[in-house]
Subunit: 254 residues, 2 copies
DNA sequence: CGACGACTTGACATCGATCAAGCGAGGTGG
DNA sequence: CCACCTCGCTTGATCGATGTCAAGTCGTCG
């Protein structure tokens, strides 16, 4: 766990700090947040950008080392928040597609700290927390948009947690897949066919099941017609009946 | 489900609206919130009090009928928030002891609406939402204290949800009992021996288990020494090792 | 007294975890 | 190019954990 931060630092491309690079890197962020409010000029965010990096492999970023003064935003790819129990069990608390803020804290009080893992080939933008908060404080529109966006995330997470406590495995997985789809669409992936951004092991840690059982349950969902698969991509057939049974609401993409 | 609101109204004691009654009814609220900030004068809250009522039996208050313009505070007794799945499954999302606000919304965006059930013999204070928010807006200290209190609740809930997804039954129940103890102590119950404010069925809906399994798991926890029982009251022996295994933190009472 | 709800207990069924083996894609080094 | 490895995934066999159903006790309330 200890060498992680330096490994993380080593993988960054320090030279990518020109304004054009910053523009390219925060376009997904601005595009996503912009759905929740008007953003006058994305360039105001430039001074808060600390670094831009690409993950060569799945890379955990440990909360106690990095979260206090940095804010991480997914530019491309996928990330998830997790915490570990002493017995080695891993719990994945939330998922992040392009444009998502991985450790914005104001909604839930910033008290429950989770680590974040970026999946391989993901590009992330690192903001200085203090500077970003300063800039946001001067831009009420931007601030409101971010808060609304994070509120939606918080709500979706609570909806998922509720189902993961109360429902059987097939419903848990269906609910989680709907959430993943919602997150991918919020990130701008308007393609109806999507590929799974997580391994079965990670899906297991997200749903509280084992990877083996996820594999079997996926097949059942496929047999039931909820999942349609085409090669490595899949599509969900979530008719209103299923959504009602899961008490599911969309919070990002309609 | 439809006659519920009128049943709820019928049970109230309309005559209890003198200032002395209001004082008596919000003392638990003020005492609890006061742990999170200075409250100059509790009497400023009087104009926001709509009614004071005592529940003769377990009484659900349905969100879609009552939550929009009312805020419910437990004065004495116990309450819990719940939602229902179409198949009849009930999920209990949070628990409230004396002094707790049952439907304060600003922390998590007020989007995930849950119903609230007050247990028999509980006394509740009903505030007019708009007036309470006006008063609070003019009292930054009070507002901050409430927000901090609700942040702590939100955090504790997230901690519990995480464990309820990832952990086996014994750990789930132990975690939940610790939370109940935390809530009771935050309400001022400094007695080390406490009695269970929920039925086994409700504990099941809170943990995602069945009442039968709760019964057996309680016995196991008793055999393991975590629970010490004396008549109907019990005490928890949560040594640091257990708390570490559950990754448990206190958020209200130390 | 009877009715009812909370709880317990036992027998059994089902769900999901665990362990082990094998397959295939992708990466690495010779 | 091949040999070899690792990782993600699948499948089967088996075990343990949890749910379901049913019966019975106890206390409370009318």
């Amino acid at each position: 766990m200890n060498g992680s931060q330096s490994a993380f630092l080593r993988q960054e491309s320090e030279f990518r700090s020109a304004d054009t690079d910053k523009d390219a890197a925060i376009v997904s962020f601005v595009g996503r947040i912009g759905q929740f409010g008007q953003i006058a000029d994305a360039a105001v965010l430039h001074p808060a950008v600390d670094r831009i990096g690409v993950m060569q492999r799945d890379q955990p970023i440990w909360a106690e080392q990095n979260h206090a003064d940095r804010i991480f935003v997914v530019d491309t790819g996928f990330a998830f928040a997790f915490s570990l129990y002493p017995d080695g069990r891993r719990h994945i608390g939330d998922i992040f597609a392009a444009g998502a803020i991985c450790n914005w804290s104001s909604v839930w009080g910033g008290m429950l700290i989770e680590n974040v893992t970026f999946k391989a080939r993901s590009r992330l933008v690192v903001f200085r927390r203090d500077r970003l908060l300063e800039i946001v404080a001067e831009q009420p529109e931007l601030h409101g948009a971010i808060e609304r966006h994070e509120n939606a995330r918080c709500h979706r997470r609570q909806q998922r947690c509720r189902g993961l406590i109360a429902l059987p495995a097939m419903d848990r997985l269906a609910l989680t897949l709907l959430d993943i789809q919602d997150e991918l669409r919020a990130a701008g992936g308007d393609d109806e066919w999507m590929s799974l951004p997580l391994t079965l092991r990670e899906l297991g840690d997200l749903t509280g099941l084992t990877d083996v059982h996820i594999s079997r349950t996926l097949r059942k969902l496929q047999d039931s017609g909820f999942i349609e698969k085409r090669g490595k991509r899949f599509r969900l057939h979530a008719d209103p009946g299923i959504k009602a049974a899961l008490d599911y609401q969309h919070f990002f993409a309609g």
